[in-house]
């Protein structure tokens, strides 16, 4: 019965072709370092899911942000778990992205024909850091407030346009409601949209080109 349905759908959607192209593709004999990209992808999906769950209660307003997170941690069933995964996952994600980058660098996987895979990867690294930067402010506690004050002040040291970058990031000269809301928007809409689009290109290229092999001694 199930088999009949699957073949009905398959005939119309080409499921087995998708399956064969993505999961049954040929890979060279590689080692565990080649799983770092998948580990990053998994953590990214986990961040997305737990993040969506956090927005069920979180309120991006200076008077409520801290209380709403406190509520998640103390009152909501498994709230500590969802927030805990999102909190620790963020740091872990930065680490795996970095290790993944080191792997592709040291194995020379960035070379022809994978230059664009590398370049999209660089954007993903920056976006991941951006996610961490914008997410850090959201609890609106002392640490978040002053860390963001310091980090946005650093941009002021850029020659000529520094003060402009600073006020643009803050939505004014001081950290305010406007800062919190624009960081929230960047954290849940703008940056994730870019990440999804670029991960799409990145993985398309991984599937299209296939992954590199472990370089031999004389390579």
């Amino acid at each position: 019965m199930a088999a009949k349905w699957i073949s009905w759908l398959d005939e119309r959607l080409g499921l087995t072709t998708i399956y064969r192209t993505i999961l049954d593709r040929k890979v060279p004999k590689v080692n565990w370092f080649f799983t770092l990209g998948s580990a990053t992808l998994f953590l990214g999906v986990l961040q997305g899911l737990t993040g969506i769950f956090l927005t069920v209660y979180y309120v991006p307003h200076p008077e409520q942000a801290y209380d709403s997170i406190n509520y998640i941690m103390t009152e909501v069933s498994f709230g500590w778990l969802i927030r805990g995964i999102h909190h620790w996952g963020a740091s872990l994600l930065v680490i795996t992205v970095f290790l993944h980058m080191l792997r592709t660098f040291f194995y020379g996987a960035y070379k022809y024909p994978r230059e664009i895979t590398w370049v999209t990867g660089v954007f993903l690294l920056l976006l991941t850091l951006g996610m961490g930067f914008t997410g850090y402010l959201l609890p609106w506690n002392q640490r978040a407030f002053w860390a963001t004050t310091v980090a946005t002040s650093i941009t002021e040291t850029v020659p000529f346009i520094g003060p402009f970058i600073n006020t643009a990031l803050r939505g004014g000269t001081e950290l305010s409601t406007l800062t919190l809301v624009r960081f929230f928007s960047a954290h849940i809409w703008i940056l994730p949209a870019l990440v999804v689009a670029i991960v799409g290109i990145h993985l398309y290229l991984v599937v299209r080109i296939g992954i590199s092999h472990v370089p031999a001694k004389d390579e």
Binding site: V56, Q64, S68, V76, S77, F78, I82
Partner: protein, 164 residues
Amino acid sequence: MPEIEHGGGISRRSFVTGVVAFLGSVIASVIGIPAIGYLIAPGLKKHTSDEWVPIGKLEDIPMDIPILSTFTRTSQIGWERSATSFGVYVVRKSADEFDVFSNICTHLSCRVSWKDDQEAFVCPCHNGIFGKDGSIISGPQPRPLDRFEYKVEDGTLLVHLVEG
């Protein structure tokens, strides 16, 4: 994985499929159950209250005319204290006998109000009409207006507010 029991003829592929399916369902429930709990948590919290609310001095309550009395109570909802307002209609039937009605329509919870010209409580939402004694005159409402318990203490009328 029942296939394993009926004799050694299981292929590597179907063994792996079985293990993946089994672990998959374990992981799905380990994730799914907290997820559902997380989403419905505030709905499962009951905030309860049980108090006698003073409505007014007996000498201020006229005979046989429904009087609307409102009061607000604050409670903790989520991380905020918020105020909920209540309205009761008091109808004095004799020196110490009253009808105390909730102004919440028994149909779908709109607020009813007393109309002098119609001699009735009228609900604006679906035209539910209740008599001065709270009984159904016409409309879709399933039961008469709800009543509050009341008592008189030191010349003051108090109603019993019970929630949860």
